[in-house]
Symmetry: C2
Subunit: 268 residues, 2 copies
């Protein structure tokens, strides 16, 4: 998503050229390219797929909308398996029209997971619940904190349901570090994503994430916390950013690798 | 602030006409009118001032900026006392340039309160720490949750420092109801403000609050919770809203009273 202007073949080439061995993919470009062809493209280049983004949107009350969402999530699991990644990221969904009860919406997510988690496990895919910043609570994700995500995940076996830790969504939360330890203890950190927090936020607040080092998040400290929680998987940089999208994707990827090394790893 | 287009005399007239007996004032229009004249205007109309908004912005590290902020807060206390309100609302302030440590910034707020709280108490004024939505954590308010606000407030006597509960900032937080109970038990709910949550958020996310009933917050439930916490003071409606500000303030005030009665009080 950081370099969404690149086609899938261009993305794969740019990853290889930049020494990036693992790439998080989104469903739309994968489906546009063809799932099997995308899997072959990535594999033949020697890359692995870190995660597939994303399933979820499981908060509807309307039965036919719920059935469609479950079917779509099963398809997402199948796509993840075909791509050879073991992790599907889930964004829970917001409040359906007229609803005001966030807790009840989270319970509907849990109910859906009872169906989806075993289906995914049978295909070698784990579900990573991603808490999104509270500014998305009404329209995108009723799971706003790592604590809420873990409260959901822990109803399921640790090999089936875990969490996706994204600095952009969690940086403000003084309770998140302890929850990260909790997630690590049960082996539920399934994915780690970096983005920086910059203001002013743009209209709609979706596409204003900051390039690493441009904002206020102590990315190095978050990386160390995730390391200390026992996570040793790929680190994704996920920058929804109108300003980055306006630039050449190859240049943005090179810059991002450099920013990662300078702002998220090693001694300060 | 809901009817910022009205001058102070127009606001007072509109409150009287609408049967609103208590009004929350902001410092800028009060100072423009003259503090003593504003106090007389409100008093002569038979109104009381619920709170003065706002002090705060106490997170700077630079000594001269801190000194200026403390002086400005003492002035805000003096203005509150002159207006006859016992409550000054504080917005903590964001991260100063280059800073990344929210916890350290909250400690600087605490340090400032050690100076300000006794000063205010000597003048019959209580300080109400207002947690702002986490989307404001970097640039406006490092206190994002009711829990953080209470952790600060409880370092001081309950007659000196408490909290301002605003539905717009707290509605998403599943931990807020228990914290509201905690606040009630120590008598620290000093102010209660209503606004509804609507999306999409506008650029800058400041002026997109929803008129009561237009959004997703269960205002009636929040009102009941605040009642249950033992709060029996005035209820303020604080709508930063470009769309409301574009309309006639008297009409907006009438509408707001109606919305309050229909969406925030009584049986559903």
């Amino acid at each position: 998503m950081t370099v969404r202007g690149l086609s899938l073949p261009e993305l794969v080439d740019a990853c290889v050229a930049s020494g990036v061995g693992s790439v998080g993919l989104w469903r739309e470009p994968v489906r546009a390219h063809g799932v099997e062809a995308a899997a072959r493209l990535v594999r033949d280049a020697g890359l692995t797929v870190s995660t597939l983004c994303r399933g979820g949107f499981l908060t509807a009350t309307d039965p036919s909308v719920r059935a469609d969402a479950l079917a779509d999530n099963r398809a997402a699991v199948d796509e993840a398996a075909a791509l050879g990644t073991d992790t599907l990221v889930l964004v829970s969904g917001g409040l359906p029209p007229g609803a005001r009860d966030l807790g009840a919406a989270r319970e509907r997510v849990a109910a859906a997971l009872h169906t989806l988690a075993p289906y995914a496990a049978d295909r070698g895919v784990r579900l990573a619940i991603e808490p999104l910043h509270p500014m998305f609570a009404s329209d995108r994700c009723v799971v706003s904190t790592l604590e809420q995500a873990l409260d959901l995940a822990e109803r399921f076996p640790a090999r089936q349901v875990g969490v996706c830790v994204d600095t952009y969504h969690l940086w403000w939360d003084d309770r998140a570090p302890a929850q990260l330890t909790r997630a690590g203890e049960s082996g539920r950190v399934f994915a780690f994503q970096l983005a920086d927090w910059v203001t002013p936020l743009p209209e709609g607040v979706l596409n204003g994430r900051g390039q690493l080092g441009d904002g206020v998040i102590d990315l190095r400290e978050w990386h160390a916390r995730v390391d200390a929680a026992g996570y040793s998987g790929p680190v994704e940089v996920e920058l929804f950013s109108d300003s980055l999208w306006a630039r050449d994707g190859r240049e943005v990827l090179t810059e991002t690798v450099d920013r990662y090394l300078r702002h998220a790893t090693g001694p300060p």
